[in-house]
């Protein structure tokens, strides 16, 4: 039976009509075989526009619909819904892009119109071969996996838990808190970081809906939106979390001291330790590389003194599978390694420190008890803070790390407050974009901070004058004055930029998400979807998506939680049916498709010796379809018949 095709040519205001002679295209379409009606309209996507389609389906008994307008990315769903509401299966619709692929790229009207006719003709030919398809609905597991227990992950977890959902919060360190736990004060309010963070950490520990899985990581993540399985590896602390009461006696008595990672190696910790006093969970962990029992089989002082018998050297790594419906990655960042920029002397000259090391000096529970001091124990009388270390630099990272200007100024304030030293800030631009940030800059100016506009060229210890003897000399051009200056100081602080975590590539692979060119996780849309990814059900938040300060991290954590909630409260998700299908009769069992599938959506049936597509996982990318040497795989709505019809028609028009 012949099809009854309706063709609708949109003007899109002047976007299309300016270049394409729509009347001409309509006349052309009307004359094509099987076309029952062809119309044009100003804005097909508008309500009246959609009404035209619905009316024609009902009154003219249309069996297929073609809309010639913009890109399917814009309005394919709009028109599919309209078609469905008109009483026709939504997959009996085809969109012809005569805007982005025609009007917007043609050099003149003649070319644009001919092109539009060819595109429409091809769509008309194709749509006749299309079959009705049904979307599949799958339930959504309401549990959520949050990976990363820094401020972002904590925010996301609390929002979700408060709404009644069960959250698994997985953190790879022995404690949650992330980088924020290591900061002294936060800009611009100069709130004590621990004071505002620890209440949230305690909330997480106490919340009935949050299962905190610390000192663990995710080794595998499989499934599809609403139905994921996460394999968690729980690393052994060698301390029983149930029995330990956090008294700290074991740490006190342990004879082994090693450099503390939490203190950037500037302070010490024991072999059995908590990273910091307010750690959550408040349970120590044994570092088996340095513990005397593990290395030499002796000591066991911790066992002797523990009143609860919580030390257990026999603990093993454990694996656990969690079923969740959505996942939020809040895995944070790493800092740029300042030793790469040799001219600043980090690692070579004494008293050249990074911003994080400075934070640890300034912190009351840091290695110096909160005193800013030089290697010789004295207070500095002058400090230089160098901006843009490793950022905005083609030799290292091209992007701006966003937070360094503000934290540099915060450090300047702390130096003033604690030492009264003279502070020099060497900057290229001052980026004070947030609420209260510009005011904070003014405050620092009022405090007599010396701002020198010029990126530091180098830090040297070679004195050229008596005043420079024994000092670190920062050499920079003061660009506002147009003079090269040598400023002797006691201490140099390098404001290092953010980088993606070293294991970001592995994480991205585990969760099948993409990364942008700079290595941070890729958001679905930089403006309109900053916390979603191209993978449905997986969200990203915080600095793992790009450098950002605490307010933005918290905002993204909450946003990701909202996105997850939106999915969960829908109770079920709709899966697109335009997936690949394997004809088992034609399948030769060669398994070429299995390795190629980026979504691990194909399984091999060992009894029947054929491959099968899991249509919940399949994203319809088409790779297996193209690769199958037997031609056994077809993609729904992209069948050979449909594609060939389109191509043949387009070629015929091209003459």
């Amino acid at each position: 039976m012949a099809e009854k095709i309706g063709v609708y040519v949109c003007h899109c205001g002047s976007n299309i009509a300016q270049m394409v002679d729509c009347k001409n295209v309509v006349d052309y379409a009307a004359a094509l075989p099987n076309v029952t009606v062809a119309r044009e309209y100003q804005y097909m996507c508008s309500d009246p526009g959609q009404e035209i389609i619905k009316k024609d389906i009902k009154e003219l008994g249309l069996t297929r619909v073609v809309v010639a307008s913009c890109s399917p990315l814009m309005h394919e769903l709009t028109f599919r819904r309209a078609v469905e509401e008109g009483g026709l299966n939504q997959f009996l619709f085809q969109m012809a892009n005569i805007r982005e692929q025609c009007s917007w790229i043609s050099e003149n009207k003649e070319m644009a119109t001919e092109r539009a006719k060819a595109i429409v003709g091809a769509a008309v030919k194709r749509v006749a071969f299309q079959e009705p398809l049904q979307e599949k609905k799958v339930p959504v597991n309401p549990n959520v996996l949050v990976v990363g227990g820094g401020i972002t992950g904590i925010e996301a977890a609390l929002q979700l838990a408060d709404s009644g959902k069960k959250v698994y919060l997985v953190e790879k360190e022995p404690t949650i808190g992330g980088y924020m736990a290591r900061f002294d004060k936060t800009f611009p309010t100069l709130d004590c970081a621990a004071c505002i963070l620890t209440p949230k950490m305690v909330n997480v520990a106490q919340h009935p809906n949050i299962e905190l899985i610390s000192y663990s990581d995710v080794t595998r993540f499989s499934g599809y939106v609403g139905n994921f399985t996460a394999r968690i590896r729980r690393r052994p602390r060698y301390v029983d979390e149930e029995k330990c009461n956090g008294c700290g006696l074991c740490t006190e008595k342990c004879p082994i001291s090693v450099p503390s990672e939490f203190d950037c190696g500037l302070g010490k910790r024991k072999a059995i330790y908590r990273p910091f006093p307010q750690a959550v969970p408040n349970v120590p962990v044994i570092d088996r590389e340095h513990c005397l029992f593990f290395t030499k089989g002796i000591c066991k002082v911790c066992v002797k003194f523990c009143p609860r018998g919580a030390v257990n050297f026999d603990q093993k790594e454990e694996f656990e599978d969690l079923q969740v419906g959505t996942a939020i990655l809040a895995t944070g960042f790493d800092l740029f390694d300042a030793s790469k920029v040799k001219q600043y002397g980090y690692g070579r000259l004494p008293n050249v420190v990074t911003s994080l090391e400075f934070e640890r000096f300034s912190h009351a529970s840091g290695p110096t008890g909160g005193k800013i001091q030089l290697k010789n124990g004295q207070m500095p009388q002058s400090v230089a803070i160098l901006h843009c270390i490793g950022s905005r630099d083609t030799n290292f990272n091209e992007y701006c790390s966003r937070v360094c200007c503000m934290y540099s100024m915060k450090m300047a304030h702390l130096v003033h407050e604690k030492t009264g030293a003279k502070v020099y800030e060497f900057y290229i631009d001052i980026r004070a974009f947030g609420k209260g940030y510009e005011e904070f800059y003014k405050r620092l100016l009022k405090e007599d901070t010396v701002f020198i506009r010029g990126k530091a060229a180098e830090v040297t210890d070679f004195a050229q004058t008596p005043a420079e003897k024994g000092k670190l000399i920062v050499v920079a051009e003061d660009t506002l004055l147009g003079i090269t200056r040598r400023i002797p100081v006691d201490m140099v602080v390098l404001s290092v930029g953010f980088e993606p975590r070293k294991d970001a590539a592995d994480l991205a692979r585990t969760f099948s998400i993409s990364r942008s060119q700079d290595g941070f996780f890729l958001e679905r849309h930089p403006k309109l979807a900053p916390v979603s990814t191209a993978s449905d059900g997986i969200f990203i938040a915080g600095s793992c998506q790009g450098p950002k300060d605490i307010p933005d991290s918290v905002a993204q954590g909450a946003a990701a939680a909202a996105n997850a909630l939106s999915l969960i409260d829908r109770k079920e998700v709709t899966l697109e049916p335009t997936v690949a299908v394997i004809d088992e009769e034609s399948c030769s069992g060669c398994k070429i498709c299995l390795g190629l599938c980026p979504f691990n959506a194909i399984v091999f049936d060992d009894t029947k010796k054929v491959s099968r597509v899991n249509d919940a996982l399949c994203k319809g990318c088409g790779v297996c379809v193209a690769a199958c040497p037997s031609g056994a795989i077809e993609q729904r709505n992209f069948t050979d018949d449909q594609l060939l019809a389109e191509v043949e028609s387009a070629c015929a028009s091209a003459k």
Binding site: K342, T460, D461, F462, Q464
Partner: protein, 295 residues
């Protein structure tokens, strides 16, 4: 390319006269180590910095001609002067990256029946010795270790900047390493890769002199008894102008200068005459007597 120990050798113009001793000692120690250096046939000047200041394309042509002749030998090209290294490597690099330059220079070479396919690799002799020959072979040849002679290793600018990726561009260490192998003691020298101002000596002497002064200050303040060089221009600048520096700044520098190959030669047991040390402007006699001859 053939065996890594065979190189075509490009001495450069300054090794013909002023820095003859560098050429002498380089050939001697290379032979000892089994590095075969065959002088590049009829080589022309690399252009230093002066030629590029007047003509761009013809400056590239100078290097391209050398590279084209070298390519015939099917060996890598060894140089001892960083300026020669930079010019040859720059042309090599730019011709590889920039199609227009490649075409222009390529068609010019044709006029002399020459062609360059981009296969020559240019190496500084220090890099060859440290990276290819290596510690055990060098130490094996040391018969008269340099008894902890406190030497300031001076690299200058163009050894690693801009295209010498074989060592660090801010704080290279190859010469420090070699000095240790020879039994000398490389002193901490923060200005080891800073500019000597050599090309300004005739055009802007006062600026050049203050640069030289800083280097001499730094080397001696850190305990350096002598300065080792890897660049003929740096060597000449620091050597010939110590007197002028003293006059201008009322200092009294008298720091003996050695090409790194001369120090190698001394450690390998060659005589001062063979190594051209008798051609020096600042006498190292007292230093060597005090530190080395009493061995």
């Amino acid at each position: 390319m053939e065996s890594r120990m065979e190189f075509t050798y490009y001495p450069g113009c300054s090794l013909e006269g002023m820095n003859k001793a560098y050429d002498q000692s380089a050939r001697l120690v290379s032979k000892s180590l089994g590095i075969d250096l065959k002088e590049l046939n009829d080589w022309n000047c690399c252009g230093a910095s002066a030629y590029m200041s007047i003509r761009e394309l013809r400056a590239h042509l100078l290097s391209a001609r050398n590279l084209a002749i070298a390519e015939r030998e099917k060996k890598d090209l060894a140089v001892v002067c960083p300026a020669c290294y930079t010019n040859l490597t720059k042309t090599n690099h730019y011709m590889g990256e920039d199609a227009k330059l490649r075409r222009t220079v390529g068609s010019a070479l044709k006029a002399a029946n020459l062609q360059y396919m981009g296969t020559v690799k240019v190496r500084h002799l220090l890099d060859v010795i440290v990276s290819e020959i290596g510690e055990s072979e060098v130490r094996a040849k040391v018969t008269k270790p340099l008894s902890g002679l406190k030497t300031a290793p001076y690299y200058g600018c163009q050894f690693t900047r801009p295209l010498g990726d074989y060592d660090d561009k801010e704080f290279p260490t190859m010469l420090d390493t070699l000095l240790k192998w020879l039994g000398a003691e490389p002193v901490n020298f923060p200005l080891k890769a800073k500019c000597c101002g050599g090309i300004l000596m005739t055009t802007n002497e006062s600026v050049a002199l203050s640069l030289v002064r800083s280097l001499l200050d730094c080397a001696t303040q850190n305990g350096g008894e002598a300065i080792a060089t890897i660049c003929p221009l740096c060597h000449m600048t620091l050597e010939a102008y110590q007197g002028n520096v003293n006059k201008a700044f009322s200092t009294s520098f008298k720091v003996p200068m050695f090409y790194f190959t001369q120090l190698m030669g001394l450690a390998f047991g060659f005589s001062k005459k063979e190594l051209g040390i008798n051609q020096e402007l600042i006498s190292s006699k007292a230093l060597l007597e005090r530190r080395l001859e009493a061995r």
